[in-house]
């Protein structure tokens, strides 16, 4: 494993955020805006801005090999294939390309996007991530999604026909009034399409969303802790039975199809984020005072973003955060523990000067005694089955409180 960003792995992943959705789902707290139709005019202006930002930001990643490009959102598939092709070309031109590059596109099951799938394939997208969520019309409706079960099915078929190398599907659980049987039916139906990758997300009620308001009013019947746990278990057992590897808390893949781009986050590898609300982690040492890298975040308003970029300025919403050793250490702990491979004590020691026990002796002893963490003879750590389900409780032990 090229942990965390060894010299040999001087790579970069590029994330591109397209903030447009046909309508904004009531639980969504991403940087998105609703547009009934994305006009060619707006699309071109936005893509121009993305490419300008790429030029602006690329020096920090200069000379790196492009490992992945992730077109996320929002709904990037609302863009025409030509626009996406421009982005793919620009990213490839901006960095070194030596081998295959994972190019992921997020798409929703709509007619418009379905018809464009072959075009996307031709634009260079080799991995399609579909926002299926559920096949159940009632669940989709309660979630405020624009599509229905049939569209999901058609899109899955079309994706197969279009011939993407990998197909990933998002599945939502603990949605309002969903219930375990419904979720199980969703999993089974999804498995029939044999996607290479599945991301299963529990519905989180995020502050400020319409769902949060509904929840406050007691109008949202989401699963309680016990039921959500049963759902988690059901997803894991069914997918594992179908030979998927549970390689990260919410991600499953057939061997060899683990998401290259997503893994960069858990491995703390540099990612250049472009577009509205995008986040970046610049590589270590990219600024003198940032031995552990820099975290940057862009403005969340499309107008403000465009204005800044078109003026040739940075679109960052706040000054970059130079990660402190403590912060980097905490992130190393909780990000690597999210993964099946867990934390490599030797790599950790190389980076921070001491093995995990050198920083968290009591915490690790207690967590091991509570059967939340498993420790190997080399000091490496992994979450146990129980620990996965209580991962936030485990992780809270490793963050620092400034006081």
């Amino acid at each position: 494993m090229d942990y965390p960003d060894g010299v040999s792995a001087a790579t970069v992943g590029v994330y591109v955020h397209v903030p447009f959705c046909e309508r904004v789902c009531p639980y969504c707290d991403f940087a998105v805006v609703g547009v009934r139709t994305l006009t060619a005019e707006v699309e071109r202006r936005y893509v121009d801005a993305l490419l300008r930002e790429l030029e602006l930001r690329r020096p920090a990643f200069a000379g790196r090999e492009l490992a992945s490009l992730y077109l996320g959102g929002g709904t990037p598939s609302l863009c025409r294939p030509e626009s996406l092709a421009r982005i793919v070309r620009a990213a490839r031109a901006a960095f070194e390309v030596r081998g295959p590059v994972e190019v992921t596109l997020e798409a929703n099951p709509s007619t418009l996007e379905r018809e464009r799938l072959p075009g996307f394939r031709d634009a260079g997208v080799n991995r399609l991530s579909l926002g299926i969520q559920s096949f159940d019309d009632a669940t989709l409706k309660r979630l405020g999604r624009a599509h229905r079960g049939d569209e999901a099915r058609l899109t899955l078929q079309a994706a197969r026909t279009a011939g993407f190398e990998a197909l990933s599907c998002d599945l939502i659980f603990a949605a309002p009034d969903q219930g375990l049987p419904q979720l199980e039916a969703d999993i089974d139906e999804l498995l029939a399409f044999a996607p290479e990758h599945v991301s299963a997300y529990e519905l989180n009620v995020e502050p400020g969303t319409p769902f949060a308001t509904a929840a406050e009013r007691g109008q949202l019947a989401c699963a309680g802790e016990d039921e959500a746990l049963a759902m988690w278990d059901a997803i894991e057992s069914r997918l594992e039975a179908a030979a998927y590897v549970h390689y990260e808390l919410s991600a499953y893949a057939r061997p060899g199809f683990e998401a290259v781009h997503n893994q960069r986050y858990w491995r703390r590898q540099p990612v250049l984020g472009l577009g509205v609300g995008a986040f970046s982690t610049d590589p270590r040492g990219s600024r003198g005072d940032a031995p552990f890298g820099l975290r940057r975040s862009n403005l969340r308003s499309p107008d403000a973003y465009l204005a800044r970029i078109e003026a040739g300025e940075s679109a960052e919403s706040e000054p970059a955060e130079a990660l402190s050793p403590e912060t980097a250490r905490a992130e190393a702990m909780f990000l690597s523990l999210r993964t099946r491979s867990g934390l490599d004590a030797a790599a950790f020691e190389r980076e921070f000067g001491r093995p995990p026990r050198g920083f968290y002796p009591d915490e690790i002893t207690t967590l091991v005694a509570q059967a939340l963490l498993a420790e190997d003879s080399a000091g490496g750590l992994r979450l146990t089955r129980r620990g996965q389900r209580l991962s936030d409780t485990v992780f809270a032990n490793f963050v620092e409180l400034g006081d």
């Binding site: 994330y15 529990e202 988690w232 986040f279 982690t281 975290r295 909780f334 990000l335 389900r389 409180l401």
Partner: protein, 599 residues
């Protein structure tokens, strides 16, 4: 100073009947406050008083007034608080006056503290000027209220002044009556000096300031005075009158009210009710002072942050400089750590002190359930007083527990009597009598103090839609069937939640407590059993199931920083929790359990 031109009076009333607003008008018509300096309830100058719209501390001001007889008088006004917790302030004010303006709200009529304060004034031998205030209100019934005053207190309804403090109606008549009806101060200007200390406060520049009423003789700046009870001797460095700001004077004569500064460093050295005399020619007999004010309600106060003890300690020290009625001593709790057991005059006082500590001194507090001072009789025949359930001896040593009882006087419109009787009954009250005055009824009950300290006043207000009022005085102690109710988490007692309750209420309190705790104790790694017990007998039990899932699904790009912050928040929350055995209990659980309604 011609004593025949001095009038000393105070304004007394039930809470909110308009004393401070009336004082405003008197300050204005006498020209003391005008224009830019005007503000409602001018004399309420503490931030808390202004915020809550109530008077907490009595205030004194000297008004110059030229009456219709053409003579220039000095009127010394004392505005008093109406709330029962601070009625000692009224008693002190009365001792400095010859007259009292009794204000009654024209819409509310006579209420509990109207009577209580009127009786205090009568007992102190003061001339009372009854006034009906707020006659501008649409719901005002000045004539009805005047008749009520005649019937209940015995003044001729025809003599009751009609006033609107808000609109300034009737203020001249009132001033004239004060001049003509309130007698000038008695006392002998040539006798050895005696001045009654009836209030004091802490001034960061000069130390303790003493508000005095000179009864005999004269106080002179620069001379030495002795406190007759306290024994302290000091030189007077400053004499002031307040009109409305402190103004230096050279002497204060018999009949006058003013402020003495004498290099006294702390309030603890000043005993309110003490008599000042001149060292050079001391008086023989001191004046009659005041009974000590005794704390009635006790709570444990603990800093929320475990390192907040020193901060709390110094905050209490500073606060006590200004509020000598606050008493405290160190106390420790297994659950809450180091803190203090504090004594207060009543629940409002407790609330105010806590608020001031939190706000002015920036300490976050957790307070244990209020208790009263119990008298414990041991099997050995000895008896002692305790102010905390933790100090209750074991059942074997205990012969009986006696609790303080009060005589509560409740005033209520007839239609709400039923609700009041029911409430008193529930609170273990025994009715003394019930008298009807027009459409209002006065009910008197003997009630355990513990039953009224927390929320009785609010309850009275709610069962009477705000029209009821109540007053109480301590009458003694009585033996009661009281037990100690303990709360246990996974078998470990949470000492801070122990209560002394009547046996018949133990079950409902225990059930409520465990239910509340369950609501606020988050799921933990292991199941948590919450029990309420009397002695070894568990009377209520619930469990908090073990935490089995705590995971957020996504964690990508930007989520990393956010995710880390959420984890930090989770950890910070955990750090603020108190640990009892292996169980972590959040502050909110204590707060909720301690806020439990007395049911």
């Amino acid at each position: 100073m011609d004593r025949t031109l001095i009038r000393n009076f105070c304004i007394i009333a039930h809470i909110d009947h308009g004393k401070s607003t009336l004082a405003d008008r008197l300050l204005e018509v006498t020209g003391l406050v005008s224009g830019r300096d005007r503000r409602a309830q001018y004399l309420d100058n503490m931030e808390l008083e202004r915020e809550r719209g109530i008077t907490i501390k009595a205030q004194t001001v000297r008004l110059p007034y030229t009456a219709s007889d053409g003579k220039s008088y000095i009127l010394n006004l004392i505005d008093t608080p109406g709330h029962v917790d601070f009625s000692y302030e009224v008693s002190r004010a009365l001792a400095a006056c010859e007259g009292a303006v009794l204000v009654v709200d024209a819409a509310q009529g006579i209420e509990a503290q109207t009577l209580a304060n009127a009786y205090l004034a009568v007992d102190a031998g003061l001339e009372i000027i009854p006034v009906v205030n707020k006659i501008d209100l649409p719901s005002a019934d000045p004539d009805g209220v005047a008749e009520e005053i005649e019937e209940v207190i015995g003044f001729d309804a025809a003599d009751v002044l009609h006033v609107s403090a808000k609109q300034g109606i009737g203020t001249h008549e009132l001033l004239e009556q004060i001049v003509s009806n309130v007698p000038p101060p008695k006392g002998d200007p040539d006798a050895p000096t005696r001045a009654l200390v009836f209030d004091s406060w802490f001034d960061p520049y000069v130390g303790a300031a003493m508000l005095v009423r000179v009864v005999d003789g004269k106080l002179r700046s620069g001379e030495r005075v002795r406190m007759m009870a306290g024994g302290l001797e000091k030189e007077i460095t400053e004499l002031n009158v307040i009109d409305p700001r402190p103004r230096r004077v050279e002497h204060l004569e018999a009949g006058e009210v003013g402020v003495v500064i004498a290099g006294v460093k702390t309030l603890a050295e000043v005993k309110i009710g003490d008599t000042l005399t001149m060292t050079s020619a001391p008086a023989e007999e001191p004046l009659v002072g005041f009974q000590d004010v005794k704390p009635m309600v006790f709570t444990g106060l603990y800093p929320i942050e475990s390192d907040g003890y020193e901060g709390l300690k110094s905050a209490l020290e500073k606060l006590q400089l200004n509020d000598a009625s606050l008493v405290y001593e160190p106390e420790t709790s297994d659950a809450l750590g180091f803190g203090f057991r504090c004594g207060f005059l009543g629940f409002l006082h407790a609330e105010i002190v806590q608020e001031r500590l939190e706000r002015e001194y920036d300490v976050d507090l957790i307070s244990t359930a209020p208790t009263v001072r119990y008298r414990i009789v041991l099997t050995s025949g000895e008896s002692k007083e305790i102010e905390s359930p933790a100090n209750l001896p074991s059942a074997g040593e205990l012969h009986c527990i006696e609790e303080p009882v009060v005589l509560a006087t409740i005033h209520v419109p007839q239609e709400f009597v039923g609700g009041v009787l029911k409430l008193c009954q529930e609170r273990r009250g025994v009715q003394r009598d019930m008298v009807q005055h027009g459409t209002r009824v006065q009910v008197r009950y003997d009630l355990p103090l513990s039953e009224i300290v927390l929320d009785f006043h609010d309850k009275i207000k709610s069962v009477t839609r705000g029209y009821g009022s109540f007053d109480y005085e301590l009458t003694g102690y009585q033996a009661s069937d009281l037990v100690k109710l303990d709360v246990l988490v996974n078998g470990d007692p949470v000492d801070a939640l122990s209560l002394i309750v009547h046996r018949e209420k133990a079950y409902s309190r225990g059930t409520e407590l465990t239910r509340k705790l369950k609501e606020f104790i988050p799921r933990q790694m292991y199941e948590v059993a919450i029990q309420a017990a009397v002695g070894a007998r568990v009377i209520a039990r619930t469990t908090v199931k073990a935490l089995r899932k705590n995971v957020t699904s996504k964690c990508y790009g930007g989520d990393i920083t956010r995710k880390r912050k959420l984890l930090e928040k989770q950890k910070a929350g955990k750090r603020r929790m108190k640990r009892v055995g292996s169980v972590e209990i959040p502050q909110e659980a204590f707060l909720a359990a301690l806020k439990l309604e007395d049911s």
